[in-house]
Symmetry: C2
């Protein structure tokens, strides 16, 4: 594979070249390195080294490098650049990438940077994109696209396309609009090349075209594009006007971020953090869920105090040794159930009635519960527990597993029906509530059976 | 958004039309429905209804439908089709999709189906693709691509390209090879159109081209393509010959599957299952991790039996009420740490020395630990616990949190260094081991401080 591998030696070499201001050697060394790889190098440099390098390299390369940097590295480098320098970088970028960078600038700098962009059309496009939420189709789209008017003939169309295509890195489709800029359809390059130059576009275009509107959610756009294997999709505004285009590379990022967010939520991490973020960021992301877990644990203390008298009975006090086991099983079963449901909801594959789902979860947990209860009885036999004691634990365990599975299944479904992201109901939320339910249920049932 | 919405009414309507064998009405109804949407409909039908529909529709549409069906639905439909019928479908598909379907056929049918494919070249390509592991570049690639010989002139090249392009749905790049089919570079369409027809390709091609080799892992291919924003990448064999091409839509699927797999592992589910799989599949995926959790719980029973004497002391027996809290905190902290490290390893952003990482985790858990220990002391005050008892719990809790964070951080790192997928060290594995460590540590420290 043609992979670039970042090495400590390379970083050291570059740091030395920067130190000795060997401009020519640096330019030579980085000439054939892809901008995504240069970004990885820059992420490793000290701020003044990074700024030096960015100022040294050509702005058509540095603009791309900027888009690939770690957010906090980019923020610090932008602080070191003048409004003119930033405007120069933005000029080189597609409008969607440029708008993403502008959105990160401190408010007081935005105006200054924008007014320094030489190409006023480009500046206007960037300002327009800033209006949209970053998690919407409008926030993802670029203004760069190739569109033709249905009233043109093929000849005019080809001429216009040549001009427009200059600004578009990759032409995926040619979109057809009417005089009001409303999206009418798309054009196949093949038809365009095999039709007489005098034919009107309205006679040859394909009226069937997938599209999204500016306020559609990014994750819905990702779903449509990956379901229909689209490499680009046009974006229209509320009035049907063609206003932009989203390409598949942006969707790849959305899919990855979505997956990482769900994964982190399931692990009890509230906001997007990375291993290399600072301790304060990591604490902010982790502490809230830990506090929730602690409160759950303290609730269990309350519950257990209620069953304190069981400790006085020599045969029964052993129940307390099983609390970690019960809590673990309740938590694990709940997490499994919720993970499957959350993924099913995300992929729209949770079908059938709630009643069927209930039946399925109960049967499933009965099977799992029986197997695990069997193991507990075997364990009790080996440990020489009274058979009534072992059976009590087995029965209580089964009840806990069934309830945990039901909670894990239905909490996400209910949240989803109310329009709340069901992913928050995985991980700590489910383990904590299942710990409490599980422990209460276990002791309550044990007490019932052992007749205290 | 132009989304198709599957409704119970539509399914009912289609079932009735199938029942009454209203071929014309069915064809009319499904004429403009995208194949990915028809696949969703077929997934909902009974087997004989589905087979009827597949046989009714045109094979250029049904072949695409087949690729989008649920695995088990497809398997059952293929059983109902003759070798000739399957071969007819495969003829319509790109080689990569065709090979995926052949790979799912029972061994004894493969030969028969392949020999029924009319286009022998297509059949040969499919057989070649079957050789590769499905999680490798070879398993992902299609044979369809446009390649030209460096010794041709522009005119020959354009003629040949026209012929090849017929078989290729989307031309992303034109690859240049030498007489031995070795990949030399790529060609820009623009250069091709603006150069004299007599120019040799070797004079105009771009020698710099990203590529992967057949045995590269699918997830590494995904990393390269998404890092460099590539929409297609050529695949070479061990000798450097150009043998195929991977497109971004296949990579989107790889990224999604990879994310789902990691998510399920973290939730304690061993193999890819969906909410709508049958109970047996779900049990197979879930029970092993639950058994692991149970064994961990039984280990805790052993440990707690060792501290049984603490129960006899009125002031100290309350320690047992805190076991669920300790287990929960140890588990949650461990899962958080491991999730961050596993994601960092996946994105290659875990840098710096192990020593620095150790320092960071310890400081991080000290901060979290102090905050949580503070809450416990406040709780003890409200509950009128002896201050020494509250402090004991606070100190023990802090130790547990630090150890849990270290286990969560370093187990994945060690696994990764040994070439084992670190994702298995998230979820049940970490919670179970941290439960055991945590409970032992808590009681051991409490006993030390309270001097029994």
């Amino acid at each position: 594979m043609t992979t670039f591998k970042l090495s400590i030696e390379l970083i050291e070499q570059i740091k030395q070249l920067i130190e000795s201001k060997s401009e020519k050697a640096l330019l030579e060394l980085l000439k054939d390195v892809h901008y995504a790889d240069v970004a990885e190098i820059v992420d490793e440099l000290e701020l003044d080294e990074a700024t030096y390098l960015i100022k040294l390299l050509d702005s058509d390369k540095t603009s791309d490098i900027l888009t690939e940097l770690d957010d906090d590295v980019r923020e610090r480098i932008l602080k070191n650049l003048s409004a003119e320098e930033i405007a120069g970088e933005l000029l080189e970028l597609d409008t969607d990438d440029a708008a993403d960078i502008v959105a990160e600038l401190p408010e007081e700098r935005v105006q200054e940077v924008i007014s320094n962009i030489e190409d006023k059309e480009h500046a206007k496009d960037i300002v327009e994109l800033l209006r949209y939420d970053e998690n919407s189709a409008g926030g993802l789209m670029a203004k760069e696209l190739v569109s033709v008017n249905e009233n043109w003939n093929v000849l005019t169309c080809v001429k216009e396309m040549r001009i427009q295509a200059e600004n578009v890195t990759r032409v995926h489709s040619i979109y057809v609009v009417d005089d009001d800029e409303k999206l009418k359809g798309r054009l196949s390059l093949k038809d365009l090349l095999t039709t007489s130059t005098k034919t009107q576009i309205s006679e040859v275009y394909i009226p069937k075209v997938d599209y999204v509107t500016v306020h559609d959610k990014a994750e819905d756009v990702a779903k449509v594009m990956s379901k229909y294997d689209l490499e680009a999709i046009p974006v229209i505004d509320e009035t049907g006007r063609l206003v932009g285009r989203i390409t598949i590379d942006d969707i790849v990022d959305v899919i990855k971020e979505e997956a990482e967010k769900d994964y982190q939520l399931a692990a009890g991490i509230t906001q997007e953090v990375e291993a290399d973020d600072n301790i304060w960021e990591l604490t902010k992301a982790r502490l809230p869920w830990l506090v929730l877990g602690l409160l759950g644990g303290l609730a269990s203390v309350f519950i257990l105090e209620d069953f304190e008298e069981l400790m006085k009975n020599e045969n029964v006090k052993r129940l307390f040794f099983f609390t970690p086991l019960i809590a673990a099983m309740a938590g694990n079963v709940g997490v499994q159930s919720s993970a499957i449901i959350v993924q099913g909801l995300a992929n729209d594959i949770v079908k059938g009635s709630l009643w069927n789902r209930l039946l399925k979860e109960v049967s499933l947990s009965l099977i799992n519960g029986l197997a695990l209860a069997g193991l507990v009885v075997v364990f009790g036999y080996i440990m020489n527990y009274q058979i009534s004691f072992s059976l009590t634990i087995a029965v209580a365990l089964m009840c806990v597993i069934i309830v945990a599975a039901l909670v894990g299944t239905f909490v996400p479904i209910i949240l989803d029906k109310r329009g709340i992201d069901p992913a928050i109901a995985t991980g700590p939320f489910i383990t904590t509530s299942n710990d409490i339910f599980g422990i209460f249920l276990f002791f309550y049932i044990a007490k019932l059976i052992l007749q205290f």
